[in-house]
Symmetry: C2
């Protein structure tokens, strides 16, 4: 007797998982190891594997098996049913865009990215505009097709790729709540902070010592170095698959926190990936539940867990040990003040957690307008600068630190930005439940003990993989639907806390 349609699908998706893992390694290598001149060769390899993956996923065989498995789904277990649903989801997304459009988009994007690098270096938007225009045009077509296939509005269809189950309405409600409170809160936080004495932390921190510190902390958290690596790259990222996770960070010799916090952010991603259900590792249901939840895990780790007093209590002696620092500048209070400093800045990736959502809101609004045609590409710099002025009270001195700062649009990633803000809100919401369930968490963290944190996350978040929709997962874990309230409570408590000197 031959295997059931469902079992045959599992075999096919196992191959797809292996191809995806190979692709991920090729990307990791391109950013970390590859000689600079070999980008053309790598582009061919990535394109060949992506084509193969797309062809497999959209083959008539898979469609036939999906239909037959669906027809025979009585008696299947809930994990299998969820797996079948996720298989179909992956196929539906892949098949909605014709191969010709994928290939035109791939070419436009690769031209645009090269031009963007150059335009950003020279701060010249005009030369980039026609290439971005082409990308916007193609993404608009893609969003329309995807929306048709998924029965969603075009922009919602793009969001659904990154944050399945989240709609523009969810995002709008969230951003409205944030808009209402954040501007005033930022003012108050800055005023609280101005009354705090904060000494600058300066010095030279040799990369090898920084690496040793980072590895020690990551080991303590539980990152498995026999099944993962830490390396350096221009921007921190996580690639690989559970079982071979590749984390990177960026080391700054003048600041020991850039590299450490970058690595901890990525360790948040890695621990999520490593906590995914073991038995389903090579199946769609065993994957992460999208970028919003991924980002919640990295932000929970970096912003909430590690930019906290208890974590600083744990890590301060390690700074002393690895760098030989001493004196009052390096006490817990001053380090904590350093790690939670609020500033109205121009650049998203340098933003603190309080101003960060404002950066995202601007991008969300502008990318929707670009796609709808309401905003012409040539008018982007002006709209950007006006938006920054309005939201953050700062005006870019050049497009390089303005609308050219992010690569996302150049590479066609529209609908991705909201996941950063969703991640922050979800992280805070999970954090409230976590605290209720693990009341000793802060004492644990101060001792460098992460098992309480990770145990709760495994049970309530990681272990579900993609089994349930994000909104259900959140409701199961926290008892509430997605809402900005917990985030606002969290930042109010953290950033309006009276300075140590005032409290004393």
């Amino acid at each position: 007797m031959s295997a059931s349609p469902y079992k045959q699908l599992e075999q096919e998706f196992k191959r797809l998982h292996a191809l995806r893992g190979a692709l991920s390694l090729l990307r990791w290598d391109a950013a970390v190891m590859m000689p600079r001149g070999s980008a053309d060769i790598r582009a061919e390899q990535l394109a060949a594997l992506e084509t193969e993956q797309h062809a497999l996923l959209t083959s008539p065989r898979i469609s036939r098996l999906l239909d037959r498995a669906q027809a025979n789904s009585q008696g299947m277990q809930d994990w299998q049913l969820a797996n079948l649903r996720e298989m179909r989801r992956e196929r539906d997304h892949a098949i909605a865009t014709p191969v010709t459009l994928i290939s035109r988009l791939a070419k436009a994007v690769s031209r645009a990215e090269v031009c963007w690098l150059d335009a950003r270096a020279q701060g010249r938007f005009e030369q980039f505009a026609p290439l971005l225009e082409e990308v916007v045009h193609l993404v608009r077509d893609r969003a329309a097709l995807l929306g048709q296939a998924l029965n969603l509005a075009p922009y919602d269809a793009l969001v659904d790729e990154f944050s399945p189950g989240i709609t523009t309405t969810d995002i709008d409600v969230m951003f409205k709540a944030l808009s209402r409170r954040l501007p005033a809160l930022i003012r108050e936080a800055i005023s609280v902070q101005e009354r705090r004495p904060r000494q600058p932390l300066t010095g030279k921190f040799p990369p090898s010592k920084q690496r040793a510190l980072i590895v020690e902390v990551m080991k303590q958290i539980g990152f498995p170095f026999d099944r993962g690596r830490l390396d350096e790259s221009e921007h921190p990222f996580t690639e690989g698959v559970p079982g071979d996770v590749r984390v990177t960070t960026r080391i700054d010799v003048g600041d020991p926190f850039t590299g450490l916090l970058g690595a901890l952010h990525e360790t948040g991603h890695a621990m999520y990936d490593l906590g995914l259900p073991q038995d389903w590792r090579d199946q769609p249901v065993g994957r992460d539940r999208g970028m919003a939840l991924e980002e919640s895990q990295s932000l929970l780790m970096e912003m909430i867990v590690c930019r906290s007093r208890p974590f600083v209590q744990y890590v301060q002696p390690l700074l002393v040990k690895h760098f030989g620092v001493s004196g009052p500048d390096w006490d817990v209070d001053n380090i904590y003040a350093h790690l939670t400093r609020v500033r109205r800045g121009l650049v998203r990736v340098d933003a603190d957690e309080l101003t960060y959502p404002l950066h995202i809101m601007l991008r969300y609004e502008l990318e929707k307008q670009l796609l709808s045609g309401e905003l012409a590409v040539r008018d982007l710099p002006q709209a950007w600068n006006a938006g920054m002025e309005e939201r953050l009270g700062v005006r870019p001195d050049s497009d390089a630190r303005g609308c050219l700062q992010d690569v996302h649009w150049a590479v066609g990633s529209f609908g991705y930005f909201p996941s950063y803000a969703l991640g922050a809100v979800i992280a805070a919401q999970l954090n409230e439940s976590l605290r209720n369930n693990v009341p000793a968490l802060d004492e644990q963290l101060a001792r460098g003990e992460f098992s309480g944190l990770l145990g709760w996350l495994r049970t309530h978040v990681h272990g579900f993989g993609a089994k349930v929709p994000l909104q259900d997962l959140l409701r199961n874990a926290t008892g509430k639907p997605l809402a900005a309230a917990a985030y606002i409570r969290y930042v109010e408590a953290k950033y309006l806390e009276p300075a140590a000197s005032e409290a004393a």
Copy 2:
């Protein structure tokens, strides 16, 4: 009008080239970067890509296109015709073995390799024997099928995979000539060498300084570090594709030559790959002309060019510069004596160029007997030890340094060993023509100038890719068919040269 069948084939083989490059990178990563625990994940990824590659190459579409291109081959240029021939060759090799046999062999080999590692560590052949037996059995089936398809004797069909165009008869003639001269020559060389004063070269050579030296020499040779890397691994190897070449070596802190010469051997491979015809890089005709020619290029670089007095004259000041060595031990004569020392040893990978062919002859004889059934797997250790005694006058103290020393048979690589000896013979034959055409070569090498060497090799060897059969390439480059005579002249001149003290 749609593209011609031939042009469509070029597109398909371009994809295959990209897949092959991706596979090569996955192997490189596994040996150099991958965390130890991730081997299972990588095995799945490699298997998925190999399956994909095999499916593409053996698809009905490729067969149809090959037939149609063949029927329309009038008016095609010679490079295109040669490309078509090589496409067919790759397809014929791939299609000859049924997928079920490939998969059984892959599983047997993966079990055998794990067991071999263990058996070698413990020097226990018995536990490995049944697994090797299974591999031999499956390789025998494969050789029979391949032989049938290619109209070759079974063992010749295996050799043809690694060294296309070479037959058992060619190998037998070569080995007969070597057998006649080598044993006496080794005795004479050892006696010459015993009259030479040779001081041991000892010290501590920090890895970072060794790497700096190796990089300096590789740059001087012309290795493009913007399109290639040097790393470390347990055994030196070359992976990647022209355009992104990955070379490794093994650093020994107590000996600066292990790492350097290992890297130079691999640089020989790399410079061959980099010299392949640019316009055909992603096509079968643009690939190397098999393992025998590959090995000739690494041996020409390592053994003939770099284990020579002129090269030592160039590199000696670099040893002084990088390691601060001094004194008569580190003069050119003593270093040269060190690099050309002849010893009857047990282990192939440690063998000098004079005794090396004897190691190969033994393996060649035994692997033919294993495949024909003349020698039972359980009798291998005894046959091995007797063969070593007879050929080299040494007897292994354990199977670990006897018949378990090489991985080749465990992983099913039968027919591969002869290419090492063929490489040595081809290298010497090319070297004679090279010297005739570039009379100032030694002066150039002594100045660290490699353009004369590489210019000749590009024109007469590298630039042909796989355009002509190996025997033709050799005849064009040297005016002679493959023969051991040049090798014997070369080693006689080098190893029977009177010691410096005698000559003086």
